[in-house]
Amino acid sequence: MSYYLGSFLLIAIGLYTVIIKKNLIKIVIGLNFIASGVNLLIVSIGYVKNGTAPIFSKIGINPSAMVDPIPQALTLTAIVIDASELALAVAFVVLLYRHYGTLDIKKIRSLKW
């Protein structure tokens, strides 16, 4: 359960960062927090008590002792997606800084209403 809790906390901290923090970089980090939390959640769901990695490195391993392979596969995909988003986010932050000369999200409000 604590694994779950850890992932939930990561998500919550990420959301908190995104809402409360003013700095663009911190917001991007907050996004990363959320993504990590979700990935942790996925992996922990797949865990089966006393399970091993789902690799048949030797013939004759009992498949019933293995953990669920799907969450791991999902995590792989999710990580790459998060990485892509992060790369784009950072690129945006750089451009924002160039246009506005600040990293304070409160001052980046040219589009409203």
Binding site: V18, K106, W113
Partner: protein
């Protein structure tokens, strides 16, 4: 016969498209096509004279058939629509020449024909979907016609279309409610369903439908669009709007109250006042208020077309008042007045349009003395105002007389008083119109004004002669009206070609006698007049002016604020304005919208993100509270 109803409906639309294409070739091709197609519509319409023809299914939508039908009542309205449209198109040929941009003209004729087609569709509709569809088409095509005239007309058109849309959506709800009940919106099915429905349902649907019609018919308090729209529209469009378009509201009321809902049914489900169902009674009061208040407003106008526009509000009040009486005589009077109003108001708008065409202004205090320059237009306009004022022997009198008699029969004295007062008020404003335009001093700049070209004279004179024809021979129209009303369950009223014999109403009327005696008296007096010593023509400036010498460059004519002293009397009434109430609500709405927008779409990313969290929190809290969302 089967196809030709659809053909009749399609003719104006096809004509509109061809007109637009024709305009690319040459403007005379365009004009010719427009005239020919509207003429063809009139011809096709004439084929249906006094025939009843139920139900051509031309399509089906959502399980409800789309039906076209015709009967003498629709024929009456078809006649109004197609005839006035034809005249308007003929009038436009010369009147719209001043517009240089040919493209604008092409689309102008196209829209004219489209409006005509839409109105033909409304009238021919045999089910509510068709009706509503063409109703909306009529709204937006006529909107385009209104905004043809510059900056002010844009504001007017905007107001018009918004109010039309609101009205149409009120109808929409009612139609949807009916659809939910019957799944078929053919009139007969709806009538059947309504006869079994609960009273509250009926009242709701009828009220909502009526609101839509009231907006279009400009019954107070929903009239505010009309004075602006009718006065700002191009002069050939105003007769179409005033003469025809607002009649569609009257037609709708007729269909709803006597086609879908019979009077007997209405009496059964709601209390009656003066043996009128309370709903109709309220409508009568609204119509009567329209008559009186719009008359007051018309009296105080300085703008010729605005005056006529307010007069339209007042006259449509008579139509609605007549239709809402629920007796044969009253309804026949209302229908007849619809026809008459189309004729004389079309005439008046066209005649004023002719003046505007020559002088370029419609401000009454800038005009005057045109009788010498435009005698034909003057004579036509004179006939028009006599008809409008309801003076025998022209047509306006006959229909008003029928409405008065119907009201007397029902002893609805207060409505009758208001109707009378409105009619007397009409004397004031029609005289103002003819006085300021044609009588008195001719401003110097209009020395060279000529009468309008023949193509503009023809429509004006056709309408002018119609006022006489329908005035002296009301039987011509009553043939159609009485026959049509029989279909809607009214007891036919007695009439003959020249009027109404004893027994129809509380009195009798033979218009031709009045006309004959008047003519004889006129001729006799004229002869006597000639027998006395000859007269000598003197200049208008040779005038009693307290010893002053008058010169053409000095305006001495009394034409601004003609009824100023009367204005003082009705000042408390004039200072009331329903429009201010509307504007108040619109402003309130705008302020609210602005307020919330600045607080929701702040441009602040944190705020946006917190919305997400809030929504998730609500869901989470709901789950924690046991899955109770509501």
């Amino acid at each position: 016969m089967n196809m030709s109803l659809e053909l009749l409906l399609a003719t104006p639309f096809i004509g509109g498209l061809l007109t637009y294409i024709g305009g690319k070739v040459h403007r005379w091709v365009r004009n010719l096509i427009a005239v020919l197609f509207s003429l063809a519509t009139v011809g096709e319409m004439a084929m249906y004279y006094n025939t009843t023809f139920k139900g051509v299914v031309w399509g089906s939508l959502f399980g409800s058939n789309l039906v076209l039908q015709t009967n003498p009542i629709t024929w009456l309205f078809l006649f109004i629509v197609t005839a006035i449209s034809l005249l308007v198109i003929v009038f436009s040929i010369d009147d719209m020449k001043k517009e240089e941009d040919e493209i604008v003209l092409d689309s102008y004729y196209m829209q004219l024909l489209f409006v005509e087609g839409a109105m033909v569709g409304i009238v021919l509709a045999g089910d509510l979907i068709t009706f509503f569809m063409f109703w909306e088409i009529m709204s937006w095509t006529s909107y385009f016609l209104i905004v043809h005239g510059g900056k002010k007309s844009m504001a007017a058109g905007y107001k018009y279309i918004i109010m039309s849309v609101i009205g149409a959506y009120a109808m929409f709800i009612a139609i949807a409610m009916l659809y939910a009940k019957t799944h078929s919106l053919v009139y007969s099915d709806v009538a059947l369903a309504l006869s079994q429905a609960s009273p509250s349902f009926i009242i709701w649907t009828v009220v909502l439908l009526s609101v839509g019609f009231f907006v279009k018919a400009a019954v107070m308090p929903l009239h505010t669009w009309l004075p602006d729209a009718h006065s700002e529209a191009p002069s050939p469009v105003s007769p179409l709007l005033s003469g025809v378009l607002i009649k569609m509201g009257a037609y709708g009321l007729f269909i709803v109250f006597y086609g879908l809902l019979s009077v007997n049914l209405a009496k059964n489900i709601m209390p009656s006042v003066f043996s009128t169902p309370i709903l109709l009674y309220i409508i009568q009061w609204l119509a009567a208020l329209s008559i009186v208040l719009a008359t007051f407003l018309a009296i105080m106008q300085e703008d010729a077309k605005r005056l006529l526009a307010y007069s339209s509000v007042s006259q449509i009040g008579y139509v609605v008042l007549g239709l809402a009486t629920g007796t044969s005589l009253g309804v026949a009077g209302g229908l007849f007045h619809a026809l008459n109003h189309a004729i004389f108001k079309g005439l008046l708008f066209l005649a004023v349009g002719a003046v505007i065409y020559r002088t370029g202004t419609r401000n009454m205090s800038e005009l005057g003395g045109l009788v010498k320059k435009m005698p034909f237009t003057f004579t036509a306009l004179l006939l028009g105002i006599i008809a409008l004022a309801g003076v025998p022997p022209l047509n306006g009198f006959v229909s008003k007389w029928m409405i008065y008699e119907a009201l007397i029969q029902k002893k609805e004295v207060f409505l009758l008083i208001m109707a009378f007062v409105g009619s007397t008020g009409a004397f004031l404003y029609v005289y103002r119109l003819i006085h300021s335009l044609f009588l008195g001093q001719l401003p110097e700049k209009y020395e060279n004004v000529k009468d309008v070209p023949i193509l503009m004279q023809i429509p004006i004179w056709i309408l002018a002669l119609s006022t006489i024809v329908y005035g002296i021979f009301p039987g011509l129209a009553m043939d159609v009206i009485v026959k049509g009303m029989k279909l809607f369950g009214f007891t036919p009223i007695a009439y003959n070609l020249f009027g109404f014999p004893e027994g129809t109403a509380m009195g009798s009327l033979t218009v031709i006698n009045i006309a004959a005696v008047l003519m004889t008296a006129f001729v006799a007096v004229f002869i006597i007049f000639i027998l006395f010593p000859k007269t000598r023509q003197v200049s208008q400036y040779d005038n009693y002016a307290s010893g002053q010498e008058l010169t053409p460059d000095f305006k001495y004519n009394y034409s601004f604020g003609f009824y100023m002293s009367f204005g003082r009397v009705i000042k408390p009434i004039l200072s009331m304005s329903i429009e201010r109430v509307y504007n108040y609500w619109i402003d309130a709405f705008k302020i609210f919208g602005d307020y919330y927008m600045r607080r929701i779409y702040t441009g602040n990313l944190e705020t946006y993100n917190s919305y997400i969290v809030i929504v998730v929190t609500i869901a989470a809290a709901a789950v924690l509270l046991g899955g109770k969302l509501w």
